[in-house]
């Protein structure tokens, strides 16, 4: 219980840091802290593969891309936030978030599902367990996701392909 509490505090502090940080780079770093805390939480559940995948994919790849963009965009810029269009957004969002979170916590504590009582399944979150899930019962979802991601990647290729020369000439004539 003690390790869980420490990690929960770290994760929540990281999440708060993301929205409260003044500098975008600081926000990104807090998010990295949050992701690492989650990874250690997975380790506590003995889901070692999930933990490592979390670090490799989120902390090692996605957040590096975030940082890449953030450092590129905010380089040498003075931070001056534009005035908000709708006043009181932050307060409303904060109160709503606390309300929803509290309601979920009360429901989860009062009505634990049958799966919580049953404990962790065998091979939960390790290499064998995830492998059996992905290539066994969840194979259809895996394929669906793969096709979706491939479509996104192909879409980028199509949108960014170099324009054909005749096409360019045609457009120029139109503009003229």
């Amino acid at each position: 219980m003690i390790p869980f509490s420490i990690l929960a505090v770290v994760a929540i502090a990281g999440a708060l840091g993301v929205i409260l940080g003044k500098q975008p780079v600081h926000s990104a770093l807090f998010l990295v802290g949050n992701i690492l805390a989650l990874a250690v939480l997975y380790l506590l559940l003995s889901a070692e593969f999930l933990a490592v995948a979390q670090v490799i994919v989120y902390a090692g790849a996605i957040m590096v891309l975030f940082l890449f963009v953030v450092t590129l965009l905010t380089a040498g810029k003075e931070e001056s936030e534009p005035p908000e269009d709708l006043s009181g957004q932050r307060w409303t969002a904060g109160i709503l978030a606390i309300g929803v979170g509290g309601a979920l916590a009360v429901l989860a504590a009062g009505h634990p599902g049958p799966k919580v009582a049953a404990g962790l399944p065998v091979n939960f979150g390790n290499l064998h367990g995830i492998g059996h899930l992905l290539w066994g019962s969840d194979f259809l979802y895996l394929m669906a996701l793969a096709i979706m991601l491939l479509t996104a990647a192909l879409g980028i290729l199509v949108l960014n392909r170099p324009m054909r020369r005749t096409h360019v000439r045609h457009q120029r004539r139109k503009e003229a």
Binding site: Q23, V25, H26, L29, V32, E48, F49, V52, A53, V55, I56, A59, G60, A61, V64, L65, L67, F68, T71, L72, A75, G76, N126, L127
Partner: protein, 328 residues
């Protein structure tokens, strides 16, 4: 209790060995670069310059720790620490030798032997990029920033090919545990023979991951002064320096473990010595390549990573999968 003490001793010894390895790798590199370039290299401090690393270390420790005026203080100070932490932690899972017997106890030489050791090594090494990017950003210097941005783009691109290149070994050994990968090579032969193409790709991407010539664009001194560590001085610069050389030792150790049978070898030498010899050969190759090749142009570097290394490693990966599963 005893196991905890043993673990702490092992961690301290490993850090000591890595620091010593770092210090003398720099000396070997400077001497070898001297010979490659028909000059002597540092040979004044002590016999054959053997005390040069000590003198350098003392100089680095005593130098003033400067920080630019507009720098982000916390991130600037923490960036080299991140780098060194990531570099050191990868070595925790590398098996350096067969278990040895002291005082009637069997002691394994690696600090941890998790069942997914290879993935943990990759997870930690993927965190090393943060030190470089944050150091470049926090310095508030155009050259540093460019170095950091280049590093992130380069390492993301080459990490994919690197990950794909080791999957073949993973499938052939049937395990992600580094010790079992070594033991599998005792029966199947060293994996660099069936996996020669992935090995070459691993080696190229390893040079790129450690930011060494010809992939040293993040610190290209002819265009970016010193890239991400331009503003750093004293012990914090030394930490970046240590991280780079310890990364060289680490990727060499992983290459030996995955492709060259780890500590395996004829029995006239102890296993750990075989491991050290193989790593030393790799370190020599790193230095040799640095002395030989000019730096890549940036767009060529990116297109080489994405259009050459990634497709080849992917095709070889699929081929290995078909072979291992018995389709071929």
């Amino acid at each position: 209790m005893i196991s905890t003490i043993l673990l702490i001793i092992k961690i301290l010894v490993l850090i000591g060995i890595l620091m010593g390895g770092f210090a003398y790798t720099t000396l070997v590199e400077r001497r070898l670069l001297g010979f490659f370039q028909l000059r002597l290299g540092p040979n004044r401090v002590g016999p054959q310059g053997l005390l040069q690393p000590l003198a350098d270390g003392l100089k680095m420790a005593l130098k003033e720790d400067l920080m630019p005026l507009g720098a982000d203080p916390i991130v600037y100070r923490m960036a080299p620490v991140f780098s060194l932490f990531a570099a050191l932690s990868v070595d925790a899972v590398i098996p350096f030798g067969a278990p040895i017997h002291i005082f009637g106890q069997s002691v394994s030489l690696d600090i941890a032997n998790p069942s997914i050791g290879l993935l943990i090594a990759f997870a930690f090494s993927s965190l090393g990029i943060y030190g470089i990017v944050l150091g470049g950003w926090a310095s508030q210097n155009k050259y540093s920033l460019l170095g950091g941005i280049r590093a992130s783009a380069q390492m993301i691109s080459y990490e994919l090919a690197m990950g794909l290149s080791v999957l073949g070994v993973l499938m052939m050994a049937g395990t992600a545990n580094l010790e079992n990968i070594v033991l599998a090579q005792r029966t199947q032969g060293w994996f660099f023979i069936p996996q020669i193409v992935p090995f070459v790709i691993y080696f190229i991407t390893a040079i790129a991951e450690t930011n060494r010539t010809p992939f040293d664009l993040p610190e290209a001194e002819s265009e970016l002064v010193a890239g991400y560590h331009t503003e750093y001085s004293g012990i914090r610069f030394a930490m970046f320096f240590m991280a780079e050389y310890i990364n060289v030792l680490t990727v060499s150790g992983l290459a030996v473990t995955l492709f060259f049978g780890g500590w395996l070898g004829p029995s006239f030498l102890p296993p750990i010595l075989w491991f050290v010899i193989k790593v030393a050969v790799f370190v020599f190759a790193f230095i040799w390549i640095r002395a030989t090749f000019p730096r890549f142009r940036y767009d060529k570097l990116m297109s080489f990573g994405w259009k050459v290394l990634l497709p080849i490693s992917f095709i070889y990966f699929l081929g290995t999968a078909a072979f291992v599963s018995g389709l071929l």
